[in-house]
């Protein structure tokens, strides 16, 4: 099992944070462009899922899976979006994203009066804690791919 990369988007689609752990394939475009593409795709999937669903969609879009990787999506009621790419066999990724939101984002961004919300996160402590959480998780396995 392995974790590839993580995006955090604000309500308005600003990329607040990006980090990668085991990413082999580079997109070949800048991080900003990539973030825009990613956000656009998520936005489309979200509205697609909500429109096409034959039943009340409740939580809406949760994840998708290709033959090589899974993309997990967590959106908070405030519109914050957490996107984590893992391999296809990883389990409980949603829990990990919840943890990331509750124990890291709220603690070290929201409670830090010098962190402006809706702007890219500068706090070093936040970055350390994200890395710690990911590396502690059973999903993270540092294989040299």
């Amino acid at each position: 099992m392995t974790i590839h990369n993580l995006y955090i988007f604000s309500k308005n689609g600003v990329l607040l944070y990006y980090n990668e752990w085991n990413r082999l394939n580079k997109s070949g475009i800048t991080k900003e462009e990539e973030a825009k593409l990613m956000y656009g795709m998520l936005f489309s999937i979200k509205s697609f899922v909500n429109k096409i669903s034959p039943l009340d969609p409740k939580e809406g879009f949760l994840y998708y899976k290709t033959s090589k990787y899974s993309l997990h999506y967590l959106e908070t009621p405030s519109g914050l979006k957490f996107v984590l790419n893992t391999d296809t066999i990883s389990q409980n990724v949603r829990e990990l994203l919840q943890q990331l939101y509750r124990q890291v984002y709220v603690e070290y961004v929201v409670k830090n009066p010098f962190c402006k919300l809706n702007e890219p996160i500068q706090s070093e402590l936040f970055k350390t804690k994200v890395d710690e959480l990911m590396k502690k998780s059973p999903i993270y396995l540092n294989r040299s791919l």
Binding site: E107, Y108, K111, N112, P113, F114, Q122, S123, E124, L125, K127, T128
Partner: protein, 189 residues
Amino acid sequence: MKPQVTDSKTNIAGSSVIPLTTVSNEANECLFEYLHAEIMNYVVGKNSNDSNLKEGEENLSELEWMGFGVGYRIIERLTREWVRFKDELDMIKFICTDYWSSLYQKQIDNLKTNHHGTYVLQDNEFRLLKHLANNTSNNKQYLRECPRLISFTCGLLRGSLANLGISSIVKAEITLIPTCKFHVEVQRV
């Protein structure tokens, strides 16, 4: 001489009810921190155009004064089940233990004194700083902004001591976040 006041009885909201759930407790704590942050921003923003200040200086006396008022009042509530204090050191010990854990959920980690009216109270993980940095990360990042987060507490200490009958000067020193040292200098007349 052991403290009789327990944490749950005297949390910062001053309510004597048993904490309902951890969630409501968290809300209590957050409320103080967010309000403190907003007051801090307000004071800093209001005084930022002060022309009497040199480059890189900020006027935080207003924050300190607010802390003084709060400290002066809160001491009435926190000492109501206590007997009279024996001496100055006794009061400082009370500040380090019960008082600090009522307000910041932990005790002062280290107390030093020269027995001539200077006390150094060291908190290794000060609550208002622990969201900024810790020992494993870059401790210098927010160092310049730290005085804003400390002034209120300095005033709080000074106000509390004032109501206990000690007039003092309280300064704070931060070299590595989240460790904070409060220097209390008692003013003898």
